[in-house]
Structure formats: C-alpha cells, structure tokens
C-alpha cells in the first residue's frame, strides 16, 4: 500500500470522541424507520399464525375473512406455491445436513407455534388485523418435540420422513486436525494422576428483542421493485428474494432505511419478508407489513439454546491439558439463514486464552417444535466463553487456588504472541497480563477479597463474590476460504467505493449496513484523516443496494475490520490516481511529490495541490494528462486472511442476599483490548450495550416454552429485557495491542461485552455462595433459583420452566442420552 507520511498534525480524527452525525435526525423524531414510510395506495398485511406447535392443517376457511370490510385478498400456503419458494438456509454444516423445507406460509403442516398459515391483505392495518381473527383453521395435533436430549435420542420426530431430529453432527478434533494431541488420551492420563472436571451447563434460549419491531414495505410500481426492510442484511435479502420469487436480481432494490437495532436478530431472511414481496408483486400494489411485539418475540428467531457437556483435564498443579466439548444445540423446527453454524462459530473458542495440549469439539444440531434459532450477539462465542470461564473458576476451587492466578498460570503470555492455538488459529497480538492488572486495580481486587473474607467470617446475610471473565473472541467475519471450508454459501469479504466530488467533498460507499453502531461518524473520522479532508466533508452511504451495490452487510463485528479496510484501500487508490494528475498540474515528477494533509506537496516546498483541486480538475478535464481517465473514484474489495482476536479481563463485584436470593451487581469493571480505537465514546457505548445483554442472560432473560410448545414469554411483561434501575454504571478501560493484519490495527468490539459478561456474573454469584457449597446455578440466576441453591436444593431442576434443563452429571459410559 502507499506509504503516506503522517505527522502528528495530520492524525486529527482517529482516536477522538467525535459526536455522532447520526444523532440529529434521531433526537428530533425525523426518522425513517420502515413503519414510518408510506407509499400511496399501500395495502397492509395481517398474519394468521398457528397457536399450535405441531399439527397437520386439515382445513382453512377464509370466506368470512375475505368478506370482511376493507379486505382485498386472503392467501394460504397453496395459493402462493407458484409464487415463492422456501426460505434459504445459507449455512448447513455439510451437504448431508437435514434442512427442512421452510415455506413462508405453511402448506399442510405447522411445526412451531407462531408459524404463518394465512395472510390477509387489506386497505388498513386495522382491517387486516381484524380479519385475521375471521380465518378459521382446523388442526390435527401431532406430538410436540421440545426436550433436547429426548429429541436427540428418538421419536417423536419434528419431520418424521427423516426418522431423526438430529440435523447434523459436526466434529473438530485437534489430533485429527494435526493441531494438538488426542483428547481421550489426555483425559485418561488426568484421570490417573491429575484432575478431571465434568460439567453440564445450560445456555438458555434468548430473544434478541431489538427495540424496533420488524417492518417491510414493498413497492412494485416502478422500474425496480423497491423493498424497504428493517434488516441487517440488505444484500442477502436481495439475492435470496430474487431466487425464491424468480425475480431478476437487477429488478430488486433493497433499502435498509433507519433500522432500530439488530444484534443478529435481523440477520435473517424471513417468511414475512418473502410474503410481503410476493403479495406486492402478485397484486401489483405497494404492500406493508409491520409486526407487533408479540409476533416478534414469537416469530423472529431466537438465540443460544444449548446443553453443554464439558470435560476439562488438568495436572495436579493446575496446568490445563485437555478440553472436550459436547453440545446439543436447539435449531428449532426450521433452519435460519445461518442458524446451523452458530454453535460452530464458537467451536475454536472454548480453549480461549489458555494453552491446551488437546481439544475436541462436537455438536449435534437438533430439531424441535420451536421457532428457529440463529445469530444473537456473540453467536457461538458467548457460549464458549461461558463454558471455559466457568470451568476455570471451578478448577480454581478444586485446587483451592486464586482464580486469577490459575488463569495466569495457563494463559498465553504477552511474549508468546503471535500464538497458534490447539484449535489451529493464530492469535496475532494481546496482553492478558496488562488487561488483568488494570482490571484488578480498577476493581480494588485485593480490597474486595479482604471484604469478602470479613463478610464470610461474620456470616453476613449479604455475601460478596468476585466474578471473573478473562475472554478472547474470534470476530471480523471472515476469511472467505475458511467460510468455504465450513460450507457457507457466501464469502466474508467487503467492498467499498470512495468518490471525490468536484467541489472537494467525499462520498464513501460501503457494503456494510449499520443499525446504531455509529459507522457514519467513525468512518468519516477515518477517511478524513486518510484523505486530509474535513470530518464534515465526508458522507457515508450504505444500506441501499442501488447505491451500495456490493457488500456482505453487518454482523459478526466485521464492519470496521473488514469494511473499513476496504475503504482505506479504495482511498489509497484515489490517492494513487491523483498523484500523476498532481504531478502534471505541478509540473513536477511523481517522485518529487509527497501526500500530506490532503495535499500533494513538492517535497521541500510549500507548493502543492489539494485533492479538492484535483477533483475539480477532473470535472473540467481541460488540462488532463493524456491516457488517464478523468476520474479519481476508486473501489476496493477486501477479503481478510485471518479473524481478529480482541480480548479482555472483566471483574464483577456481586452481592447476594442469602435470605432472599437477590443478586445485585455492585461494581463491574471491563478492561478490553480491541486494538486501535477509532472513537472512544462509540466504543464505550458498544461495550455498555454488550455488557447489558450478557448480564441480562445471567440474571433476567429466558425464552420459555410450555409443555404444549407455546411460548409463555411472549411479551415484555414476561421476557425481562433489563431497564435502567436493574443496572449500574460500568467502569471501562482499555489496553491496546494493535491487530497485525489490517491497516487500522483494529479488532472489532460490537460483541465483546456480551461475550465476556455472562460468566463474570455467574462466577461472581457462585463465588459469593462458596461457603454454602453451591456448585452451580442455572441461568437466569433469578432470586428463586439462587435461594433454592442456597437451601441445598439440587441446582436447577424440577422448577425449571424449560424442558431442556441441565442434565445431571452424565453416566459412566459418557453418552449424553
């Protein structure tokens, strides 16, 4: 890449907490969330959803609905069979995976409560909604499949034709891969003269619960069909809609206008989107659908939902040697866009920051009669971090060692970077010692340990625990060749265009698609520094496939690492294109020029030309050098070679009222290393939000199905998204180990907070309750569950509302069921 000389004066923007460009419209209510948009003559959809989790549809009577006031049409599955195909699954783990056909409107059977069985089209949203209640559906109940272990073992089956509920069995083994030793052998050795820990943990089902309910508006009346969608993935939506509806791709324009949060929950291509598009195309009229919150909680995809069986082997001195991870992952009744891959996105992360000799990971993806699971902030890595950080704490208890000392004994030291792990991946940079030292200082670790001892000595009813999570994560999705090996349908590159407008301002077009992350601001800072233009003179364009025609959208903490690298390379090309023009205009040779502060200077003089002047000259092309196009605009696509590895140390001071089971987070310290920081304010915001979702998993949230397969947490009354009084201020700080493999040195931060915080909380609760002999509490650690654990009840059993409760410690044969 072009070396551009940067003196301190030219690095003006990167590193500054610039206030956001995005705010002005959002704080004054001039927003363009999809439900705010109207197109003349638009029709509205109402969805008829099955209340039953598993049944054959024996009849649907739409006559009354059709006759209701304002109703234009009512469609059932068979009515749309010629118009739209099944929903895509873009990431089966192997060609042999059992992937059910998922039709946007059910045809002859339903497989989860909430599945759409009919669609009402009406002149108003009220008329549509009213008429949905007039559709008469008869069902013939079938047996409901809910419990993971039972589903893995045998009938009843969600899709009986396969005679199994196991969609796939995926394995990574370090001995087989040549990246480590044999797990079984190492565990055997440890059984003889070391320590073996066997644990079963439950990753409960969660709901992403973005604040903006999904909304879709399709206008088929122009030259292209315009498809506004509250989505994280406009490019995927375009391609898959084209395929499923046999519409030429160039005739579809997808626009993600303002999107009110995603968290992975809008990383999907949904039945509702396909239905809205299909009906609009069929009727030739604009059509809108906006879900209610209840529909969203029930019908949009859920996250997590695993039963984890873990075996950790270590020496008597506390050096870990082997780790075996055996998961059952609940897919639901159908596969989401990337649903099957979520468990394996964590496959290489259970070993975390520690040096293991042997590692084996296996997962069975299981079908059940629930809504599909798919990406939710962290996607596979929170599950991994939870497992290993809980295990390390348990190992420390076993050895009666300070849990931070035990971790330090096993982690990769600063001098050992770059380090290739037992999972076969190279961590480029990091410094666990520095992050931990800083975290301990901010928490007053020693002071709190002393207080903990005092409280234990006087048997204080409120006990204090210190929760620890020393995490790393794997993000910056993703090197395309690795995705190919994992059987993913697409790649992981990103694309950008930098356009120099004649009056000197810059348009940056990116293929990523933000929904709250502040990209417009941060990318403006980066480009301002790179091209030497003012922060205000950079306009970032995204989210519209007619403008940002090429891209792979936003998820997996990739936009900065992958997306901005593409932006920088495009900007480099702009500078390179401008150089001969500058030389021509300055009547100098290119070797005599240097680019600095947005200008080409003749070295050693103050004679120069600005990029703006060159851009204007391109408009006129009056004195343009021969053979060169009058155009500075440039594009670049970047495919990363590697993932990124942010890391951090999080310490939580947790108080547990042993008389009521109430848990309170007294103090939470997060010291994160995310490489180079572009905008500290935005980074802190991402950390705060991420921490909150991870803490919510530990303490508040769970998606619960009853024995009939009905979602009982179908509103915010029961699904407990935390509110302000549930939380405290977080103490955040950073160390900085730049990434080695992108020009920015950045690692990504969007998911790190969520990945780290859940085990910090649970470890803290268990640490507080150590004197009571409590070994484990299943999440969410509600006061009831904590109290029962203290009373000596078996952790997490009959009272669990979910059928997929933690299994008791497994049998000698080692089979899960």
């Amino acid at each position: 890449m072009t070396i551009t000389e940067e003196s301190p004066e030219t690095t003006l923007e990167v590193g500054r907490s610039r206030l956001r460009k995005e705010d002005q419209r959002l704080i004054t209510g001039r927003t363009r969330f999809t439900d705010n948009l109207t197109v003349p003559g638009m029709l509205f959809l109402g969805m008829v959803r099955s209340p039953i989790a598993h049944a054959k549809i024996t009849s649907i009577d739409v006559a009354q609905a059709k006759a209701a006031p304002g109703v234009i049409a009512v469609f059932t599955g068979p009515d749309l069979a010629d118009d739209v195909g099944p929903l895509p699954c873009g990431w089966p783990l192997s060609p042999e995976d059992k992937v059910p056909e998922y039709y946007p409107v059910a045809r002859d059977e339903v497989n989860f409560a909430g599945e759409i069985v009919a669609v009402v089209v009406a002149r108003s949203a009220e008329a549509a909604r009213d008429a949905t209640e007039l559709v008469d559906v008869e069902y013939e109940d079938e047996q409901v499949v809910l419990d993971l272990a039972a589903a893995a073992a045998g009938p009843p089956y969600v899709h009986p034709a396969w005679e199994t509920n196991v969609s796939t069995h995926w394995i990574f083994d370090s001995a087989e891969a040549g990246t480590g030793a044999d797990v079984k052998a190492e565990i055997e050795k440890a059984r003889q003269d070391g320590i073996v820990l066997e644990r079963t943990f439950r990753q409960q089902r969660l709901i992403p619960a973005f604040m903006e309910p999904r909304s879709f508006l399709v206008d088929p009346t122009g030259d292209q069909i315009v498809f506004w969608s509250s989505t994280q993935v406009p490019h995927f939506l375009r391609v898959f809609t084209a395929i499923a509806t046999s519409t030429p791709e160039h005739k579809i324009r997808v626009i993600a206008p303002d999107v009110g949060g995603g968290f992975g929950g809008k990383l999907e291509v949904t039945p509702e989107e396909f239905i809205t598009f299909t009906v609009a195309k069929k009727l030739g009229k604009p059509v809108k659908y906006t879900e209610t919150r209840s529909e969203s909680l029930q019908g949009a995809h859920h996250g997590r939902d695993q039963v984890q069986r873990l075996t950790l082997a270590a020496t008597k001195e506390g050096k870990v040697t082997a780790l075996h991870v055996d998961l059952l992952a609940n897919m639901g009744a159908y596969m989401g866009l990337v649903g099957p891959a979520i468990p394996i996105l964590g496959a290489y992360m259970y070993n975390a920051i520690y040096k293991f000799a042997a590692y084996r990971f296996e997962v069975k993806n299981i079908l059940t009669n629930m809504v599909r699971t798919d990406a939710y902030r962290g996607a596979g890595r929170p599950e991994a971090t939870f497992a290993i950080e809980r295990l390390m704490d348990d190992l420390a208890v076993e050895l009666d060692m300070d849990p931070l000392e035990l971790r330090a004994k096993n982690w990769i030291t600063a001098e050992e970077f770059p380090f290739t792990t037992v999972a076969g991946f190279e961590y480029d940079s990091g410094n666990y010692e520095a992050a931990t030292a800083r975290a301990k200082e901010l928490l007053d670790y020693d002071g709190l340990r002393a207080e903990q001892a005092e409280r234990r000595a006087r048997k204080d009813p409120v006990q204090l625990g210190i929760g620890i999570s020393t995490y790393t994560e794997q993000c910056g999705l993703a090197p395309s060749r690795i995705l190919g090996r994992l059987n993913y349908i697409a790649g992981g590159w990103e694309h950008a265009e930098v356009r120099m407008l004649p009056l000197g301002t810059v348009e940056v077009v990116v293929g990523t698609s933000p929904h709250g992350q502040g990209h417009e601001t941060a990318w403006s800072q980066i480009v301002a520094d790179k091209l030497g233009v003012a922060f205000e003179d950079v306009e970032v364009l995204h989210g519209d496939t007619q403008v940002a025609q090429r891209g792979l959208d936003t998820y997996g903490s990739r936009s900065l690492v992958v997306g901005v690298t593409a932006v920088l390379r495009a900007a480099d090309k702009v500078i390179e294109k401008a150089k001969p023009i500058a030389a021509h205009m300055l009547e100098a040779s290119e070797d005599d020029l240097e680019f600095r502060g947005g200008h080409f200077w003749v070295k050693g003089t103050d004679t120069g030309k600005s990029l703006a002047e060159i851009a204007f000259a391109a408009l006129q092309a009056h004195a343009w050098p021969e053979g060169i196009e009058p155009n500075l605009d440039s594009t670049a696509s970047f495919d990363p070679e590697v993932y990124s590895y942010p890391h951090g140390t999080h310490l939580a001071a947790i108080e547990v009222d042993t008389e009521t089971g109430a848990v309170s987070v007294r103090k939470y310290v997060a010291v994160d290393d995310i490489g180079k920081v572009i905008n500290p304010m935005i980074v802190d915001g991402q950390v705060h939000g991420g921490l909150t979702q991870g803490i919510a998993q530990a303490l508040f949230e769970e998606a619960v199905y009853d024995e009939n397969g009905t979602l009982t947490t179908g509103s915010f009354v029961d699904y407990l998204v935390p509110s302000a009084p549930d939380l405290v201020d977080f103490v955040t700080d950073r160390t900085e180990s730049p990434a080695l493999y992108n020009e920015l040195g950045a690692k990504g931060v969007g998911e790190a907070g969520t990945i780290a915080s859940t085990p910090a909380i649970v470890n803290g609760i268990l640490d507080a309750l150590r004197p009571f002999g409590v070994k484990d509490i299943e999440m969410p650690c509600t006061p009831m569950r904590v109290w029962k654990a203290i009373q000596g009840a078996r952790p997490m059993t009959q009272e669990s509302a979910t059928p997929n409760q933690a299994q008791p410690h497994f049998d000698a044969e080692g089979g899960l069921a």
Partner: protein
C-alpha cells in the same frame, strides 16, 4: 343490538340528566337491528337506572347531520361505553346533532354482527387536539390509540411503537403536561387536550436541553427508544429538577433501551438537570 355512546358535555349532573331526559334516544334502523342509546354523562358520571328508564320512554326528534332520522323507540342503559360525541345546545334541547352523517351514509346493508363491531360500524368521534402547538380536528374510531392517531392520521412518525403491552415506552409523549405512554391512551381521551411529541421539543431551531444532552453524551445508538426516552427524561426533570442517579434510573424504568445499557442516558439526564435548573 348496537350501542351508541352519547357523551354529554355538561359538567353538572343534574342539568345533564335533565337534558338527557329530553334527548336520550337515537334510533337508526338497519336491515336487522336497532340501535340502543347508551348514556354517559361527562366526567365519568353514570346515570342511575331509575332515571334511565324514564329517559328511555321519551320520544324525541333526533337529527343526524341536520337531517331528521327517527324517534326514540326503545332504550337500555349501560354505563360508560363511549362512542359518539354530541354537541349540545341548551336552547335546542330537542335536537341531538350527531356529527356522523358520513357514518350513516356508509353503513353497509348486510353486516355480520360478529367480531369487533367497530370494524364494521366504524363509529367515529370528533376530537380536537393540540399537538406540538397546532390544533387538529379529526373524526376517529373510539378504539384508535393516541400513538396511531399521531403516527398515521397526523403523520407525526417521530413517536414510535415498540411493543403491545405498555412496557417499552417508545411511544411516550406529554399529554396535558404529564408523560404518558400514547399506546395506552385512546385518541378520544386526548380530546381538548395538549400533546407534545418529540417533534415539538426543539423550539425556534434550538434543541431542548435534554435533546442536546443526549447528543453530547452519546445517549443513543439506533435511536428507536430515543424519542420516548427524551420525553420521559424531560417529564422526570419537570417533576424532579435535581434527581440522584438512582432517581434518574428509577424514573426511566418504563423506557426500555436495548443498545446503550442506559449508562450514557443517565449521564445525559444528569447533564440536562444541570442546565434546566
């Protein structure tokens, strides 16, 4: 049977009863139904049954939009349903001028009296609401939520809908000086009132201190909870100009945010408290 609400604008119950005794019944004759009048006095006062029966027997000329429709035939009193608004003229006690001439004209001949009546009937009430300083007069279905009135009738899409159980607070506006969740207020309840939405917070191009503080403290990310959060924060500070952090957090309990973890929101409210004081 179809019930029609008659809301009398008279605050004095005695006078209201007297008026009602002269004009309590409204008859509309359809192919298969008769209309019963439902009496409500203003300000939630309920007529007593004894009076009601005597009221029902009176015969009164009823006009719809200036056109005489029918006499009273039969009546049954049910307390407080709400429905049509009436305007009363004391000196024309024998007239009830219903403002729903349009509703009469558009009634379908065949109606299935099942499901929600309002979807077939589309009874409307005339309301007058001052929103962000401008007074609007519209005929709305009684079941219309204030948030839907704001968003889809007035086109004020700054106020948002985030849930259907009154939990999330995205719809928060000020009604007559108090913060309310506009998804849990009927538009008809705002009749005669003053509503301020997020779109009315800035004045003369100047941001309200709460808006400014949100921007300066990065108290928003995706922005969806933001209008409701700002409205509630402003109301909180109106009531408690110098809140502690705990009081700020508790004051915002009814507004959910999924992006920020609330920390910067609390910081923004703290700063705004300083500037409104």
């Amino acid at each position: 049977m179809i019930k029609v609400g008659v809301r009398l604008r008279e605050a004095d119950l005695e006078i209201a009863e007297g008026l009602a005794s002269l004009a309590c019944q409204i008859i509309r004759h359809y192919a298969s139904g008769t209309v019963d009048a439902v009496l409500t006095a203003d300000h939630d006062q309920i007529m007593s049954c004894r009076n009601a029966h005597s009221l029902c027997k009176s015969r009164v000329a009823v006009k719809l939009g200036g056109i005489e429709v029918a006499d009273c035939v039969h009546g049954e009193i049910v307390p407080d349903v709400g429905g049509l608004a009436t305007s009363f003229q004391h000196d024309q006690m024998q007239e009830l001028d219903l403002l729903q001439a349009g509703a009469v004209a558009s009634q379908p001949r065949n109606h299935a009296l099942r499901g929600r009546q309002s979807s077939e009937r589309e009874w409307r009430m005339r309301i007058s609401v001052a929103v962000d300083g401008v007074t609007y007069t519209d005929d709305v279905e009684p079941r219309t939520l204030l948030v839907h009135y704001l968003r889809y009738v007035l086109g004020k899409t700054g106020t948002l809908v985030g849930c259907d159980t009154t939990n999330c607070g995205s719809c928060t506006v000020h009604l007559n000086g108090l913060s309310v969740k506009s998804c849990t207020v009927l538009a008809v309840q705002a009749d005669g009132g003053e509503v301020t939405t997020i779109e009315g917070m800035a004045s003369n191009g100047e941001l309200h201190p709460v808006q400014q503080a949100f921007h300066e403290n990065h108290a928003l990310q995706c922005g969806f909870c933001t209008p409701g959060m700002i409205m509630q924060a402003a109301a909180l500070l109106n009531e408690n100009p110098d809140p502690s952090d705990r009081e700020i957090r508790e004051g915002l309990e009814g507004n959910l945010c999924r992006c920020t973890g609330y920390q910067n929101i609390v910081k923004a409210v703290r700063q705004a408290a300083g500037s409104v004081r």
